[in-house]
């Protein structure tokens, strides 16, 4: 009973916390809301008239939406880059900030689900794909697996993060026997969401570009580059704008881990390219379309090379201790690796998988304005979720936001 009352207080106080802020905070939230409004307007047209407002067609039947979805699954999976050092190795500097990884995962998953929802032709029938109410083709369809994996991972992160924050709010230590199993469970689950998403493409014999055994390993390697890159930048921002103490060593440790995953990611990319180009079978056309262009079509080529180049430079910056420990070069590296993976695991994965199509046709796909508008709306939603969660989490982490320290006014109101 008492717990329920306290939890209610926690929720109410959190609400109160997110509605007041500095001018910068209001500006940022207003900006995100405006972007979301734009996304809704763009989506309404699509909802009315169908996916014809996108530039996807029968030849390239998945595009920008599914590309973003795939990339964001990787971001969500990357939370374990903090969880493992924090809980498996009990490394204190990271343990203090591990919850930020979970919050990032939650926001990324919200965006993932959003991208899936806007991509389907019949959003009114989304309940068909819901476990129990719908008719899930499990275990045959990998998309059914993905629905289950993503939602469970979302739930798990949500429960753990809320519980940890709530405990801190009530000034109690969390129950280890409850948290540890869940946190440890989140490690294989993070791997599984990305593996299942890779398998979704991987198992299609009709699409040789995806039908490669190292697709899932490549997914994981790239995820462990892009997700932490976001975290590194975020940690520095938090350090600057709040009293949150984040030790340099925590940041450098993450950066060091990233150097390994980045190197591995480049190696896997090279392995794939070698196999395709050296074998030079008919199936080489897909990777050719990506890196060299095919039959006069060069749309992806500049992006593909930009991705490789960014990845290489970022790897070097992170590998050399001197540039890794220099804030300027470290942040350049973060931006570069993020861009590199965004191209590689987004459009660079989806489009060459479908081009040329199964009957050899090349349809040049570029996202339409509707697609870009809807996508920015979803990104804004994700950022908003993240911002609001941070607004509560940071004071909790600082010990400012606890039941004991509730402002008298709030206490009176409750």
């Amino acid at each position: 009973m008492e717990t329920i009352r306290n939890f209610r207080r926690f929720c109410l106080d959190s609400l109160r916390l997110v509605v007041v802020g500095t001018r910068a905070y209001y500006g940022w939230v207003a900006f995100l809301l405006a972007l979301m409004g734009l996304g809704i307007v763009a989506y309404l047209g699509q909802f009315q008239d169908g996916l014809i407002h996108t530039n996807m067609r029968d030849q390239v039947s998945w595009g920008f939406y599914i590309g973003n979805f795939t990339f964001l699954v990787g971001v969500a999976a990357a939370a374990i880059m903090l969880i493992i050092p924090a809980y498996v190795y009990e490394w204190k500097p990271i343990k203090e900030i591990a919850i930020l990884g979970e919050l990032l995962a939650i926001s990324a998953l919200v965006m993932c689900l959003g991208f899936v929802l806007v991509d389907i032709g019949r959003p009114d029938r989304f309940w068909h794909i819901m476990p129990l109410v719908g008719l899930l083709n499990f275990p045959s369809s990998l998309l059914a697996w993905d629905v289950i994996a993503l939602n469970s991972y979302l739930l798990l992160n949500y429960v753990v993060a809320t519980y940890l924050l709530y405990c801190a709010y009530t000034d109690r230590h969390y129950v280890k026997r409850f948290v540890y199993p869940l946190v440890f469970l989140s490690i294989p689950m993070a791997v599984s969401i990305h593996t299942v998403t890779a398998y979704l493409y991987n198992g299609l014999g009709a699409r040789p570009y995806w039908n490669s055994a190292i697709l899932a390993p490549r997914f994981l390697a790239s995820a462990f580059c892009s997700g932490p890159a976001i975290l590194l930048i975020l940690l520095q921002i938090l350090r600057k704008t709040t009293r949150l103490e984040i030790k340099d060593e925590a940041i450098f440790k993450i950066a060091e881990l990233m150097a390994y995953t980045m190197g591995f990611n480049l190696f896997l990319t090279a392995a794939e390219a070698f196999k395709e180009f050296y074998t030079n079978s008919d199936d080489v056309v897909f990777i050719r379309y990506l890196y060299l262009g095919l039959r006069g079509h060069y749309t992806l080529v500049p992006f593909a090379w930009a991705s490789v180049l960014c990845g290489l430079v970022a790897f070097l910056l992170f590998l050399v201790p001197k540039t890794r420990k220099n804030w300027v070069t470290l942040n350049i590296g973060c931006v570069l690796i993020y861009a590199s993976v965004y191209i590689e695991k987004g459009m660079g994965l989806i489009i060459p998988g479908l081009t040329p199509d199964t009957l050899g046709e090349i349809y040049t796909y570029r996202p339409s304005l509707t697609e870009v508008g809807v996508a920015s709306g979803i990104f804004a939603l994700g950022f908003l979720v993240f911002t609001l969660m941070l607004k509560v989490a940071v004071p909790v982490m600082l010990g400012d936001f606890t039941m004991a320290k509730r402002p008298a006014r709030a206490a009176a109101a409750a």
Binding site: Q59, S61, P123, F126, S141, L359
Partner: protein, 310 residues
């Protein structure tokens, strides 16, 4: 939503469910609220929203749905449209053979198919794609041209390869569908439940023959051009946002007729019949001609055979 005469979804939330089944009730209750929200922006009725997968319907429910659809189509196309749910014939598995040495690439099959199967005219949807290929290259999609448009066919140095659904015995599209909206019938035809498909297009990514088409926009079919004899799992008018494909004209073949493309072909390149009947023409072709399967290495086991008749 209340100004339409159709039942509003929200009425179900507090009303009683139409069927006694507990599972159905949970589904209904769980979805009614969302239905109310969604039907607010469209003209979806409760029945449509809550309708279950074709293979879960009992006789009575199916009859009701068919009556509803017939009414809707008849009003929309201003002539009597029938919707049947003809079951497969026992002891029949359909097979198709196409003579590459005869096909001249005239695309009459494409147009006959569009007419027979009520494909959308705008945006254009066609289930058959005829590829013009180089004789020097043989069957190789990387040298195929689907948009050939010469004044006269066939063109010197080329041959023509029509591609449509291969009705695989091992269909990748069925395997990947997350909601069981597409399946293989006992007579070997893979069908789509247009009222259950969520339009995720996973099946399109999985199909090696480019056979599945998506309704990117609202399909338009002029009333004077509709073929009013339709099948539930076949050529009935489709809604937007769902996938469709060749069904070997189940509205005809399940009643012993030939598919429209077989009938129209001026060169007799197209052969069709029951694979289980040893005396059928299709069996003769398979047993006596030089036959090949397109993308055989993918082990999709098509029931669509290409052959060289002469």
């Amino acid at each position: 939503m209340s100004d339409t005469p159709k039942t509003s979804a929200s009425s179900l939330a507090c009303g009683e469910p139409q069927s006694g089944s507990r599972r159905r009730f949970i589904r209904a209750a769980g979805c009614a609220a969302v239905a109310a929200a969604l039907t607010g922006c469209g003209n979806l009725t409760t029945e449509e929203f809550l309708q279950r997968n074709f293979r879960e319907l009992d006789k009575k429910e199916l009859a009701e749905i068919i009556a509803r659809l017939e009414k809707e189509y008849t009003a929309k196309f201003r002539k009597k449209v029938t919707v049947a749910a003809t079951p497969p014939m026992p002891g029949v598995v359909f097979g198709y053979a196409l003579d590459l040495s005869r096909c001249i690439g005239c695309r009459r099959c494409v147009y006959a198919c569009v007419k027979e199967n009520n494909q959308s005219r705008d945006p254009q949807i066609q289930w058959i794609r005829v590829l013009q290929m180089d004789k020097a290259e043989g069957v190789n999609v990387l040298h195929a041209d689907p948009y050939y448009d010469p004044p006269l066919v066939p063109q010197e140095g080329h041959f023509y390869m029509p591609v449509q659904c291969h009705q695989c015995k091992n269909p990748p599209c069925v395997k990947v569908c997350p909601v069981k909206a597409t399946w293989q019938e006992p007579d070997g035809i893979t069908v789509v439940d247009y009222n259950w498909c969520i339009g995720c297009r996973y099946c399109m990514a999985a199909c090696p023959y480019g056979a599945r088409r998506f309704n990117w926009g609202e399909p338009h079919l002029p009333p004077e051009e509709i073929n009013p004899v339709t099948e539930y799992l076949g050529n009935r008018p489709r809604p937007k946002g769902v996938v469709e494909k060749c069904t070997f004209c189940i509205q005809r073949t399940r009643k012993g007729r030939y598919p429209a493309c077989v009938e129209i072909c001026p060169t007799g390149s197209r052969k069709f019949g029951n694979l289980l009947d040893p005396g059928s023409e299709i069996r003769y072709v398979i047993e006596n001609k030089r036959v090949f399967l397109f993308k055989e290495e993918l082990n999709t086991q098509p029931k669509f055979f290409y052959f060289y008749g002469v």
